[in-house]
Amino acid sequence: MRGERGKQVLITAVVLFDLLFLALPTVIILLASFTSGSIVRFPPEGFSLRWYVELVSGGAFLDPFGRSLLVATLATLFAVPAGTLAALALARWRFRTAGLIRLWLLLPFTIPLVVAGLGMMALFGELRILGSLWPVGLACCIINLPFMLWAVSAAVNHLDPELENAAANLGAPPLHRFVTVTIPAVMPGIVTGGLLMFILAFNEFLVSLMLTDARTVTLPVQIYTSIRAVITPDLAAVSAVYVLVALLAVWLLDRLVGLDLFLRAR
């Protein structure tokens, strides 16, 4: 093919640039977190784990870390049943208003996050539930709910409805069918969606910023409010924890459903 080399060179060049561009903040966070100095400098002042030791031995980040874990767990617990049931209903039942229902369920993606956060802040304030953590989990569930629906919908669409019909033919009542046939069949979707919900809620910043106060601050908000003009390695060590969690999530996603899933033509 004519000029095929030129194309290869161009694509490879852009891809290599992209790889560097994507990895740079992550790599630099990891590097900075291992410094032994008390500010981040280049070249680094030496290798140590002191900032990690400081992290686990108390300090300002331990409680927010626990809260973020709780918020992410709550958001996942809210979203998995609600999203799974809704996705199954949309796939298996005929609604005359199906278009409207889908539009409604996609609203969390079309309303800007800053507006969604303010609205829920106003509402939760009136209900006098601001200041607890579960409304933050609820909010994180709501703003990311379409993810859960998308993940399960994709799995339902690859499921043969004859499986459920066969179970029905053999006399399985509805709940038996649901628990022993439908749920196992869409499990990859539930796992993908649940994982995404957890990671997104664990990282959620803007809505947490609005819904938390000094006593309920979550980890991303705590990192944000700790950012100073001078770059300190303690923040790099907390951020490195996020990198670790992200790595774990990528590994899990690959193990459980396979990353190739996201390349499939739709």
């Binding site: 966070i29 990311n144 993810f147 998308w150 990282n203 950012i227 001078v230 990353l259 033509a265």
Partner: protein, 356 residues
Amino acid sequence: MRHLPTFATTAPGRLRVAEDGPARPAGRCRMEALITWLDWMEAWRSRLWPQRLAFLDGWMLLLPALLLVAVLVVGLVEIVDMSLRSLDRATFLLGEDWTLANYAAALSRRATWVIGWRTLWASLVTTVLTLALAFPYAYALVRTPNAAWRRFLLVSLFLPFFLGQVVRAYGWLIVLGRQGLVNSLLGLAGIEPWPLIYTPPAVVLGLVQYMLPFAVLMLAPAMTAIPEELELASASLGAGWVRTFTNVVLPLARPGLVAAGVVVFTLTFTEYAIPQIMGGGKFDFAAQAVYEAWFSTSDAGQGSALAVLVVLVSTGLTALMLALLGGRAAAGRVGRAAAADLSAAGMTAAGTGAAR
């Protein structure tokens, strides 16, 4: 039970174990416990939810999700309501009567327009740069015959995808800061420190890096749908790769490009964290103006009016872009995302969501 063949599938091997071991294999015991439990649940279900309500089954399954979104909608209604009441400076409470005063005030202030144009321009530049960087990546991802390389590309994409804005912006602060990586390297070369952070290019850089994984993940499925044979055919007919690209690949990838572009644009237009952290408060975006009005000036009415304006402008621009660029195919694609097929347009939806 008897009516469920799936439960009878105890492997022969296991049965043999059962003969010389305990009376029943553990797996079988668990299955029976599950069946008993299910029968019990089934009995309760038919008592609480009689057959004549069966026509509501679908709605019952939808109900939790519908109610969750309703929380968001009620919040939005509150914002609209507050935007129509002006702040009483004497009592610091919002007024009783509806008025458009907040909108008039917002639109007559120069800062509103400055921030609006800045957000618009920055979003356009971010979108173009992101698509330019994402397209070759998605192409390589889909076309490479090397499985290990594809895997590496995927992992490199997903790792930052799973990191939030604050962490990534913090990474950029270390790279671009006054004593950061770049300035230290410049210092070694004897060059004075350069103010890199808290500049408009830094904000765009952070935004492009943030949006890149979404764009790639939205483009890749569209790219998968283009058969490689078409490119080969074009080449065998004598077209060079540039011509093949502009006449074959680009037109076929257009719906994916438009969808990715619309999502990246909309997300950038309403982004808060990255312009806040990497702009240092000097180059505020629309979302920051909304936040400032609420929390710094404590004028919920004014902040709400700005919030409603952001919703209106971003929705309007999305519709405009689809009308101008979309043609039918792309409009159909994003239109499906908005209204019709959740899973077909999944990545559109996924992109929009995850970018937060």
